[in-house]
Symmetry: C2
Subunit: 481 residues, 2 copies
C-alpha cells in the first residue's frame, strides 16, 4: 500500500490535519466554551439558549476531518457485542471537548453498571440496546436492567438534590419545580401507569418493554403555573443530553400536543417498576408520554416550554418526510422460535411473541402462518395475555405445520380500530425505515416427527447417542441400510 | 314446472300455510300486541322493556315459512336500482304486523322524498344507499340528499313537538329531555363539529361523507342528571327503529365507553349541514359518535342508559368474532377513474379519491400505483385537502402510466399513527367482510397518446369522425394501409 500516490498525498494530509488543529484552536478554549450548565449536572451542556455556543461547536465540527461512515445497509452487520461502537459520535464528543469530552466513557460505565450482562448492545454510544429474545416476553413487566434503551446522546449524571426543571413559554406564571415540589402529595396527586415503550427505529424485535411508572400528571404542573395562555397548543420538552446532526449540536427536544397532556397521558415519573429510575433511563426525572413512540419521551428533563405550533426539530419532522410521528401503528413479533432455528415438533410448532398498538389501542386478534402468509391460524383469545390500554399482549400458540424443511413463519395483528399490518417491508415509506410495521417473518427448519421417516431417523440418532446437531453436519452412520 | 313432484307437494305446502296462519292467529291480535309506543311516533314499537312482546313476535316469525335467501356471494349481483329489494325484511315486518306493517312502504316514500334521484340504492329496505362516485369527493361537505344511508330498520316518523328521550340507568337523577330542553343555550352550550361517517359494512367506495353537525355534547346531559354513579363505564343508546336477527325483534342498540363521552366526542345533533336532520338520518335527534364507525351512531334516539359493561347485542359483538368494533382503520379509495373505464391519457392518468382514518386520526400520506402495487408514487401534500381531525382528505394526482392495455390502479394510505392498509382482501378476518380495509384496486384500459401508433389511430378516428366507442367494437375502416 506504499505506492507513489500514497507518498505524494502524505504531506497534504498532514497539512490538512495541522490546519484542522489550528482552526479548532482559533475557536477558543473548549473547556471554557462548553462548560457544565449547572452544578451537580455532570455532562450537561445547555445549547438551546446559547446560539454562540452552537456556532462555536459547529465551527469545530466542520473544521475537522472525520472518517467516512462504514456501509452496513448493503454489507453484513458485525456479529460483535457491542455490534457497532459509535465511532463518529465518540469522535464528535471528543472534538467538541469541554464538558462533553468524558461523556462517552462515563455512559458506557453506566451501561455496564445498570444493564443486564446479556443485553444485546446494538450501539455502544449513544447507547442503544435490547434484551435477548428469550427475556422479552418472559415477564409481564420488564425488569429495569433488561428494558431496552434507545438513547440519542450520552447520559448526564445528575444529583437529585439539586435537580429542578423549568416550566416556561406560554404559561401564566413560569416557574421551576424541584423533586420535592413534585412529590408533595398535598399539591400533586400521585399516579401510577403501566405502559409499553417502543422506539421508532427498526431494531430487532426485542425493543419493547412494559413499565409501571410512578409520578404525576404534567397537566397538574401546568395548572400550578396558572395554565396555558396566548393560544398555546403544544408542549416542548428539553432533555439534558446532547444530540448531533449535520455538524450541529443541540439538546434533545420534542413536542406533543396539549390534548395529549390534557388527557393526563403525559407523566413526570420518578419511579420505574417500584425502583428509582436508572440513570440510563433518565434519572432523576424523565417525561413519559403514554401510547406515543418512545422518542417523544424525554429523559433528564430540564425544561418544558408551552408553544403554539409543533416543534420543527430534526428528530420530529425532518427525518420522516415531514410527517410528525406520535402514535405507533399496530405491530407484532415472534420471539420463539427464532430465525434459522431447527425446530423438531409433532406437526405443530410452539410459537411465542407479542403484539402492540399505539395511542392506547390494543391488539384484538393475532394470526400466525407457517407458509409465508398463505394460510393463517388465529391465536385463541385464551392464549393471549389480558387486554389493557397502553400495553402489549403476549401470545403462545401451537402453529400447525405439516411440511419439513425451510418454512417461513409470519405473524400479524389487528388492533381494536381494526388496523392490521402490511405483509412485507416493501411498504416502507421512508429511507430510514422509521416506524415500519410490516409483518415479522422468520425462517425456521421444520423437522416433523409425525413423518415416519423422520421419526426413524431421530430414533436412530438417539439410539446412537448422537446429538441432533447442526443439520448441515453429515451424520456419522449410514442413513440407509 | 308442473311435474308429478310439484303436484304431490302442493297439498303439503298448503297444509303448512294453513298451519302457519293458525299458529300466527293463536298468538293474538297483532294490531293490539305491537302497538305504537308513543303518540306522535309513527312506526315506533318499544321492544326492550317488553319481553312478552318480543316472545310473541318470535313465535310469529318462527311459525311462518319464508323463502330461502338468494345466493349473491358467488353469483352476479343484480344491476337493478334498487340493487336488492330486501324481500325478507319486508316479509318480516308484514308478518309481525301491527305498527310495523306500514313501515316498509313509508320508509321507501321517505327515500324518494329526501334522497337525490341519482342515489345508488344498494338495498331498498332497510334502506342502504350511497351517492354515485362522481359526487363523492365533489364537495368538501356532502349535501344531505347525497349523503350515504345505512339504516338497520325502517324509519320512524316522529313529531318533534312531542319528542323526548330518557336518560336512566346508573346516573344520579334519571330524567327526560325534550328538544326545547336541549336547545336552551343557557343550560347546554351549543357545539358544531365536522366529521366523516363511514359504515362498517363493505359497500362500494361511495359510502363516506362529511357532515357538519350542530347540537350539544352528551357529557353535559349526563352532568344535568347529576353524573354517573355505581361504577358506570359505558353508555347504551336505544334507537326507535326495529332490528331483526335470527327470528328475534329488538330496537337498534349499541354502546360506547364513558371515556369517549367524557372527551366531548359524542353529540346529540339536531342540525346537519345547516338544515334540520332529514327523517332518514334520524330526525328529530340522532346521537353521533365522532371518529367511530357509523354503526355506533344511533338514529331516532329514545333512551340512553348508563351501564357497567359494553353491551353484548348482536350488532356490536356477535357478528364480528366478539371483537367490539368502535374506531375505523385507515382506508382510502379511488373515485376516478372507475373500474373498466377506457382512459385516454398522455402518459399520466388523472386520479381522484379520498383517504380516511378513524378515532380522530387523519391521513398523512397517500400513494398510488398503476401496476397493481409494484411501483408506488406519493401524492404530494399540496394535492391533498387539508388535514383535520375526524375528517377525510381528498386527493388528485397525475399517476404516471407508460403501458397500454389493462392496468390495475391501487391506492393506499398511512395515517398519523403510521398504520397503513393491507394490499389485498385475503386479510379479511371475518366472513361478513366487516371493516375490511384492504387497498382499493380498479382495472382500467390504458390508451397512451404518447405512443406514436396510438396517436395515429386516435387521429384517424377523429378525422373519420368516428367516436372512440367501446374498445371491443371493431372500427369501420381498415386499420392498416
Amino acid at each position: 500500500m506504499s505506492g507513489p500516490e500514497t507518498k505524494e498525498m502524505a504531506p497534504q494530509v498532514f497539512g490538512k490535519l495541522t490546519k484542522d488543529i489550528e482552526a479548532i484552536a482559533a475557536v477558543g478554549d473548549r473547556d471554557k466554551l462548553f462548560t457544565r450548565e449547572r452544578k451537580g449536572w455532570v455532562g450537561f451542556v445547555e445549547w438551546e439558549n446559547y446560539p454562540d455556543k452552537k456556532a462555536a461547536a459547529h465551527k469545530i465540527l466542520t473544521s475537522q476531518t472525520f472518517l467516512p461512515n462504514p456501509e452496513f445497509q448493503l454489507g453484513p452487520i458485525p456479529i460483535t457485542n457491542p455490534v457497532l461502537p459509535g465511532t463518529h459520535w465518540k469522535m464528535w464528543h471528543h472534538a467538541v471537548g469541554g464538558e462533553l469530552a468524558k461523556i462517552p466513557d462515563d455512559s458506557w460505565d453506566l451501561v455496564l453498571k445498570e444493564k443486564h450482562s446479556d443485553m444485546l448492545h446494538l450501539l455502544q454510544f449513544p447507547y442503544n440496546g435490547e434484551p435477548p429474545k428469550r427475556f422479552v416476553t418472559a415477564k409481564e413487566i420488564t425488569p429495569n436492567p433488561l428494558h431496552f434503551v434507545r438513547n440519542h446522546g450520552g447520559i448526564p449524571i445528575i444529583d437529585k438534590d439539586v435537580y429542578s426543571f423549568t416550566m416556561d413559554g406560554l404559561v401564566k406564571e413560569p416557574r421551576s419545580f424541584t423533586l420535592d415540589d413534585l412529590m408533595d402529595e398535598s399539591k400533586f396527586p400521585r399516579v401510577e401507569k403501566t405502559g409499553d415503550e417502543v422506539p421508532q427505529a427498526p431494531w430487532a424485535e426485542g425493543a419493547i418493554g412494559t413499565i409501571t411508572y410512578v409520578g404525576i400528571s404534567l397537566k397538574k404542573v401546568i395548572k400550578a403555573c396558572g395554565g396555558l395562555v396566548d393560544g398555546a397548543k403544544h408542549l416542548e420538552f428539553y432533555g439534558a443530553d446532547t444530540y448531533f446532526k449535520d455538524d450541529e449540536v443541540m439538546n434533545y427536544l420534542v413536542s406533543v400536543p396539549w390534548s395529549k397532556v390534557k388527557a393526563n397521558e403525559v407523566l413526570l415519573a420518578w419511579g420505574m417498576n417500584g425502583e428509582a429510575l436508572p440513570r440510563i433511563h433518565g434519572y432523576p426525572l424523565p417525561l413519559v408520554v403514554m401510547g406515543y413512540i418512545g422518542a417523544r419521551s424525554v429523559k433528564w428533563l430540564y425544561r418544558i416550554k408551552a408553544i403554539k405550533n409543533p416543534t420543527r426539530v430534526f428528530v420530529q419532522s425532518k427525518m420522516t418526510d415531514d410527517i410528525q410521528i406520535q402514535e405507533m401503528p399496530v405491530s407484532s413479533a415472534i420471539m420463539s422460535p427464532w430465525t434459522k432455528q431447527v425446530v423438531i415438533h409433532n406437526g405443530k410448532i410452539r410459537c411465542k411473541g407479542w403484539a402492540y398498538s399505539g395511542g392506547g389501542r390494543w391488539p384484538e386478534r393475532v394470526e400466525l402462518s407457517a407458509d409465508g402468509g398463505f394460510n393463517w391460524y388465529t391465536v385463541p383469545p385464551e392464549n393471549m395475555s389480558k387486554k389493557r390500554k397502553w400495553t402489549w399482549r403476549t401470545y403462545e400458540f401451537d402453529l400447525p405445520c405439516d411440511v419439513e424443511g425451510w418454512v417461513e413463519i409470519v405473524c400479524r395483528c389487528w388492533d381494536n380500530a381494526l388496523n392490521n399490518q402490511p405483509p412485507d417491508i416493501r411498504t416502507a415509506w421512508n429511507w430510514g425505515l422509521h416506524v415500519t410495521s410490516s409483518c415479522h417473518r422468520i425462517s425456521v427448519y421444520s423437522v416433523n416427527k409425525t413423518k415416519p421417516l423422520t421419526k426413524t431417523r431421530l430414533d436412530e440418532l438417539e439410539k446412537a447417542d448422537i446429538p441432533f446437531g447442526p443439520i448441515t453436519v453429515p451424520v456419522q452412520f449410514p442413513s440407509q441400510t
